[in-house]
């Protein structure tokens, strides 16, 4: 983190948010129907929640909507007319957790590498991340096993730490620095005791995780060398109900299909979230399906997330330890459970 940490009084945060809202769509955790905390575009600073365990739904939907229009296809007198959709609206995602900030960096890399996806990047490059470090571990998270929290050294534009009456703000990028500078007097340079407090909070948070809860290393070895018995995948797959929930709430999942939606006499070619756990994901027009069995699909998911081959390609394991798959699984096949089963060679249900 750049050594330019600043502090803002909590009394001034509403003013800061109001200023941000004048320049961008501000997305933040808010109290939603039913008592959940969910990320949404705010209409007033008072909506922003600071004291929350992470939302069930990750903020990835704001750079990668579940139905994402890509190209508008119209028929007119000349024939077909194509219009690429480009959303470069400035957005701030505020108070996202460290794991989610890391996930957005991961998603950026996926879409920028090899053939850059201009539609995705237009949105992503106009998003500024202001993450809120976790001083208390969430109930089911294991970000320490994925280098994705509770505090970040990189991967966010501004990292906030709750110091009680103040928030410490550490710029992580030039974009973050510029954002803090624009806020002017609302911030003052952080005092040494505040920076010490921030370090203490990080140490305390890490210690509070206790023993690691997801040992990726040995699972990675087995997954990458084909040393997971086929029967184990079969057994585990009996505990999966193929809902696709893990893919939809996972902040690093981004598989999609491309379909044309009819809309008022024209069509919109859309990217739609898809799940590698659905049988039809690899179903070919001929009817042949290389992953017909649920066991093969579950094996595929964990290869993509945990293998060395992907680790080398992506520079990181495909998991940020947010724990959402544990919360959302309609069966019992979440990341920690499966990783443990792979390590031990046995499944406990």
């Amino acid at each position: 983190m750049a050594n330019e940490a600043r502090t803002i009084s909590k009394r001034d945060v509403a003013g800061w948010l109001a200023a941000l809202m004048r320049r961008a769509e501000v997305i933040a955790p808010v109290a939603a129907h039913g008592g959940d905390v969910a990320f949404a575009a705010i209409s007033s600073p008072e909506q922003v929640v600071f004291d929350f365990q992470n939302s069930l739904h990750p903020p990835k939907q704001f750079v990668l909507p579940q139905t994402d229009p890509l190209v508008v296809i119209r028929r007119n007198g000349n024939g077909i007319e194509l219009e690429p959709v480009r959303d470069a609206h400035p957005r701030v995602i505020f108070n996202l957790r460290s794991c989610d900030a890391r996930s957005l960096a991961f998603l950026y890399r996926m879409h920028a590498s090899d053939l850059p996806d201009g539609a995705y990047l237009a949105r992503a490059e106009n998003v500024t991340l202001v993450s809120l470090a976790c001083t208390v571990p969430c109930e089911l998270g294991f970000c320490t096993c994925c280098d994705a929290g509770p505090f970040l050294k990189e991967g966010t534009d501004v990292q906030l730490t709750d110091l009680g009456e103040h928030l410490l703000a550490e710029p992580g990028t030039d974009k973050g620095l510029a954002m803090l500078s624009e806020a002017g007097d609302l911030f003052r340079p952080a005092r040494p005791d505040e920076e010490r407090r921030r370090l203490e909070l990080e140490e305390a948070a890490k210690r509070a995780f206790g023993a690691e809860t997801c040992h990726f290393a040995s699972a990675m070895r087995r997954v990458s060398t084909g040393r997971v018995p086929e029967e184990l995948w079969g057994t585990m797959s009996d505990w999966c109900l193929e809902c696709g929930g893990c893919n939809f709430v996972c902040p690093t999942c981004y598989c999609f299909s491309v379909k044309d939606m009819k809309q008022d006499g024209s069509w919109v070619r859309c990217r739609t979230w898809d799940s590698c756990q659905y049988q039809a994901f690899t179903l070919e027009a001929s009817g042949h399906n290389p992953r017909e069995r649920r066991a093969d699909r579950i094996k595929r998911r964990f290869f993509h997330k945990v293998s060395a081959q992907y680790y080398l390609r992506d520079g990181t394991v495909g998991c940020v330890g947010c724990g959402r798959c544990v919360r959302v699984c309609l069966g019992t096949t979440d990341m920690p459970a499966v990783v443990e089963a792979i390590r031990k060679g046995a499944w406990n249900g």
């Binding site: 201009g118 299909s257 379909k259 044309d260 990217r271 898809d274 690899t282 290869f303």
Partner: protein
């Protein structure tokens, strides 16, 4: 940055019936700049938009040495291809590509080439074959083996005759089941191996067709002494984006739409499902 999903507009310039359920479409870009600048390699594929029905991947069936028309050969298998088959010259489609890796033609120079196609597997080879024939002097012997279920199922019937008539190409055709009037070979494609002289040490073989046919042909070639990196094939998978993002065509960490669709048999063996 470009929108990866934006097709270029093209018009159908030509439609040719190949078999009762297969047609070849010749396409020309609407924008002359696209027409002039478009480049592709045999073995690559394109994503064809049939407006109102969506998009689907098809291999280039024409050679880059003959760029006036981009050709695809399409069998009817569902809604989109049914709709495509109702279109004719003048109708508009969308074209996104080229996608994938293509055949590595430069490294084949000087070698003997053996093309083995089954049924609807001939189209990806056709582009490569014409490319080779258009630069014939760069390559050694050229042998083409092709088989289909019945004589009616043979694609490119006129071109088969053209190839047969050439002196610098050996063409062997067979059908699984013959009918009245068929005087050629009868039997599955591997039965053609004994009808020619194979030189495994100097030959690259290109195999395209239904998975079951590829399996038997490759087994046969290996037994006859072909090295596993001298056998080249194309893989098919369900695809959506065609540009390595959507993950539908991933096999292990390889993507058929980026690392393929052309693979050597050695590479195929190394793919982890």
């Amino acid at each position: 940055m470009d929108n990866l999903f934006l097709p270029r507009l093209a018009r159908i310039a030509l439609v040719r019936d190949e078999t009762p359920d297969t047609k070849t479409f010749g396409l020309r870009f609407r924008d002359p700049v696209d027409q002039r600048d478009f480049r592709f390699l045999p073995g690559q594929f394109l994503e064809l938009s049939v407006f109102g029905f969506g998009e689907a991947p098809f291999c280039f069936a024409s050679s880059p040495t003959r760029p006036e028309l981009v050709e695809v050969t399409v069998r009817r298998t569902g809604q989109l291809t049914d709709a495509l088959h109702t279109l004719g010259p003048g109708d508009e489609v969308g074209l996104r590509g080229p996608c994938g890796n293509g055949f590595d033609l430069p490294s084949a120079q000087g070698k003997d080439l053996l093309f083995i196609g089954g049924g609807i597997g001939l189209p990806p080879l056709r582009g490569l074959i014409w490319n080779v024939l258009d630069e014939r002097e760069r390559f050694g012997r050229v042998t083409i083996m092709y088989g289909a279920k019945t004589p009616a199922d043979l694609v490119y019937k006129d071109e088969l005759q053209e190839w047969a008539a050439r002196g610098d190409v050996e063409l062997l055709v067979t059908v699984d089941r013959s009918n009245n009037g068929w005087t050629g070979n009868v039997g599955m494609v591997p039965t053609l191996f004994d009808k020619t002289e194979l030189r495994p040490k100097t030959t690259l073989s290109y195999v395209c067709g239904p998975p079951v046919m590829i399996k038997f042909v490759v087994q046969d070639l290996l037994m006859r002494g072909f090295a596993d990196d001298a056998i080249i094939s194309t893989l098919e998978r369900m695809m959506q984006c065609g540009v390595g993002k959507c993950n539908h065509c991933a096999i292990g960490h390889r993507y058929v739409c980026r690392d393929g669709p052309v693979f050597t048999f050695r590479q195929i063996k190394e793919l982890v499902e």
